[in-house]
């Protein structure tokens, strides 16, 4: 928020607001926000912790703000990246030019767990594999953004972007009159348009879009219902769909109806028990045959996961240069692959300064934050790395930006990251906003909701 002693321009409107808010009003508003979240039913479940599936993610009322020009640059960078990732996917399931050109080692691609041989040679409608690309970013300086990771499969959290805004507008309408804040509410309409734009070749007429959910026990179920509701499409489970002839159908009270586009929120492995995991109860037997023969579109397309793998991540700037012939706008965090002996040696020597992650990990589990760990923990982690070096990558600890946050004592800086959601179909679209996650514990760098992180509304000031 501060630039030296001066308040940075985009935050000026918020200074008086936060300073003049009396303590009682603040706690009143905070509990009002919580009550709203609980009433709407926005909850999430933490896997592996048991307990109630109805936990709330803490919501911090202090918004995170981007100036219009800051956002314009980010937007260009995000779209560029989303485009390159899709070009990469079409390439590696096709001719593999980038591998042939020696820009990415073939074994990283073809022997990757997420590489799906079942879709080799398929070019999905409009050449798009990943229709919703969630890019996790952190800021380290006035003009410096780093990409932490790409999410090409089914990034979640977009319902928070929309609901956080709803709740802020409801609680502090005056703020929105005083500041010109770009709206995000067009997201569901854009998403629907994007999904409809990739309808399969065999679809004539208005494409029927559905969202496929693993069911109401899933931690992101609220989001699935929210999106279905906002887009006005059916929310289906695997058992609601079946394959007959060359098409996929859903069971309705009027009999079967043909489905054209499936926005799936389940993993590749569970999509079709005949093609992937035979024990999957979530999928639709025969779906992949329909997909291959152009009877249905699956978003994101099976196999998209190979592009957001942590080992492939290192090569995204290379992809941008290779496919688009442009210089990457957003930077990658320098990454050491423990699979490479020289990198591994460096990592082990400098563990105390590095962040180490599992290649396939997510949710902030199984990682080491060197500067925040004691000797014993570091030693323990070093043993794990020596045992399975290929399972780990390491990155320097970044000086993450902070954002003012309401805490017990008043307002204090807390570390934040940002996940914007880029839509790729006939066009590439990005709504001005995203999900800001905040580490609510002092000095913590882990923003995952499963590890005590919260969320904030994200503002992009209109030009």
């Amino acid at each position: 928020m501060f630039d030296g002693k001066e308040v940075r321009i985009p935050y000026r409107g918020l200074l008086d607001w936060s300073r003049n808010m009396p303590e009682e009003l603040r706690s009143l508003k905070q509990s009002e926000a919580e009550a709203l979240f609980r009433r709407i039913g926005i909850t999430f479940a933490v896997y592996g912790e048991g307990g109630s599936p109805d936990r709330l993610i803490p919501f911090d009322m202090f918004p995170r703000v981007f100036a219009a020009d800051e956002w314009a640059k980010l937007e260009r960078g995000i779209k560029q990246r989303a485009k390159a990732l899709n070009a990469f996917l079409v390439d590696v399931y096709g001719r593999g030019e980038i591998v042939k050109a020696g820009r990415i080692p073939g074994r990283l691609v073809y022997r990757n767990e997420a590489y799906e041989t079942a879709v080799c040679g398929i070019i999905p409608p409009k050449g798009v594999y990943s229709h919703i690309v969630g890019i996790d970013l952190v800021r380290t300086g006035p003009d410096e953004f780093f990409v932490l990771e790409d999410n090409c499969r089914t990034p979640s959290g977009v319902s928070y972007m929309l609901e956080n805004r709803e709740i802020m507008m409801r609680m502090f309408p005056a703020l929105f009159q005083e500041n010109r804040i770009a709206p995000v509410e067009s997201y569901p309409a854009l998403l629907r348009r994007t999904l409809a734009s990739v309808a399969p070749a065999k679809c004539d007429g208005n494409p029927r879009v559905v969202i496929l959910t693993p069911g109401h026990f899933n931690s992101a179920y609220y989001e699935h219902t929210f999106l279905a509701d906002m887009m006005g499409v059916e929310l289906v489970e695997g058992a609601d769909l079946f394959v007959e002839g060359d098409f996929c159908w859903m069971r309705t009270t009027e009999g079967p109806k043909k489905v054209d586009v499936i926005y799936r929120r389940i993993d590749d492995a569970f999509l079709d028990p005949l093609c992937f995991r035979p024990d999957s109860m979530l999928g639709i037997p025969g779906l992949m045959n329909v997909y291959r023969s152009g009877g249905v579109s699956i978003c994101s397309a099976p196999g998209a996961g190979v592009a957001d793998d942590k080992a492939i991540y290192t090569y995204v700037p290379e992809m941008i240069r290779f496919y688009l012939g442009e210089a990457p706008i957003l930077k990658n965090v320098p990454t050491w692959q423990c699979a490479k002996p020289e990198d591994c040696r460096y990592v082990l020597e400098n563990l105390a300064d590095l962040v180490v992650k599992e290649v396939h990990g997510s949710g902030g589990y199984g990682m080491l934050v060197g500067p925040r760990s004691d000797k014993a923990t570091i030693e323990l982690f070093a043993q794990k790395i020596r045992a399975k070096p290929w399972n780990y990558i390491a990155q320097p600890t970044l000086a993450l930006s902070t954002c003012p946050t309401f805490v017990e004592e008043g307002i204090a800086p807390r570390h934040v990251d940002l996940r914007p959601y880029c839509l790729v179909g006939e066009n590439i679209e990005l709504v001005p906003g995203g999900l800001t996650r905040v580490a609510l514990t002092k000095d913590s760098l882990v923003v995952n909701s499963s590890q005590g992180g919260g969320v904030k509304d994200t503002w992009v000031m209109a030009e």
Partner: protein, 317 residues
């Protein structure tokens, strides 16, 4: 509409109606337990209540003693009882959560708040919760949910499935509630017309929120014939079997028109309406009230299966 969505809506309505029935039954039992046990000759009232709802065996097994507190626990709080008010509210809310998109905000709010409140009861000392508080709460809650649905839901097929669930459950519950007291409604039993009988009949009407309505409709003396006529054959009584079956008929008809096809469910419900519209109270007593009610409960169950086969499985082409 997705078959599963229709099924969830149907069950939301059924569970809410079932919770309400449970509360009404508790009220019947508790009021009857207030009368002095003179003569010492007849059965425990709680027993007949539980017998009608098919849970006599389960509760004796779990609690042994049939004292009011145990029955209250069993019928309101117990998770082991799939039909307790708590279980019903939880399942209704779970079904609602699955089809969150098919519910309006008001309906979802009402369901969700009911769920939060019922969780809250479990944390309150039992001595601070009187039976009438619990039954009042349940009636109020179900009225709120049902009212929100009637006022805000789209009048589409989801509305029909909700109502079909509601009416089928109501038909079943009125039949069962009447069955609870069938032995006191038999005209040939010697203590008919005694003060005790009147009391039990009044309680039954009261539990159906129909005590005063009955007076308006029939006036004068209360008698088994009038009660059976009121709760089975009178269209004016919102909880009568005929009203419930006609309600189901209306919504099945709407579906048949909307989808342009009619099937076994429509045929069956029409037959049932036809029968109830034709018969007289003495026909029912000729058949035997208990026998008539058992047959009716069976027919309602079969109608439920027909609805499932036609609409909720998604297999019909």
């Amino acid at each position: 509409m997705l078959s599963r969505t229709a099924e969830n809506l149907y069950w939301v309505a059924r569970y809410i109606e079932r919770a309400e029935t449970n509360a009404r039954l508790l009220e019947v039992g508790a009021r009857n337990a207030l009368i002095p046990n003179t003569g010492g000759g007849y059965r425990n009232d709680w027993e007949s209540v539980l017998l009608s709802f098919g849970s006599l065996f389960a509760i004796t097994e779990k609690y042994g003693d049939m004292v009011q507190r145990n029955v209250e626990t069993w019928m309101f709080f117990d998770h082991d009882n799939p039909n307790s008010v708590t279980s019903c509210i939880e399942k209704a809310r779970e079904n609602g959560r699955i089809v969150r998109t098919a519910l309006t905000t008001q309906v979802w709010d009402a369901l969700n708040i009911a769920y939060q409140e019922v969780q809250g009861f479990a944390r309150v000392e039992r001595s601070r919760l009187s039976l009438s508080d619990l039954t009042d709460w349940t009636l109020r809650t179900s009225a709120l949910i049902r009212g929100s649905a009637l006022n805000t839901q789209l009048r589409n097929e989801g509305h029909d499935f909700t109502n079909i669930g509601h009416y089928l459950e109501r038909a079943d519950s009125t039949a069962r509630m009447l069955d609870t007291k069938y032995f006191t409604l038999l005209p040939q039993i010697s203590y008919v017309g005694s003060g005790l009988d009147n009391y039990q009949w009044r309680t039954l009407l009261r539990a159906m929120s129909s005590n005063r309505a009955f007076n308006w409709a029939y006036g004068g003396e209360i008698s088994p014939n009038k009660i059976v006529d009121f709760l089975v054959l009178n269209r004016a009584c919102p909880r009568s079997l005929l009203s419930a079956v006609e309600g189901a008929n209306e919504h099945l008809d709407r579906l048949a028109r909307a989808y342009g096809r009619s099937g076994p469910a429509q045929t069956r419900v029409r037959t049932m309406v036809g029968e109830l519209a034709e018969i007289q109270v003495h026909d029912i007593f000729d058949e035997g009230l208990h026998e008539f009610l058992s047959r009716f409960i069976g027919e309602i169950a079969t109608l439920g299966f027909d609805v499932k086969a036609m609409y909720l499985s998604g297999d019909v082409r």
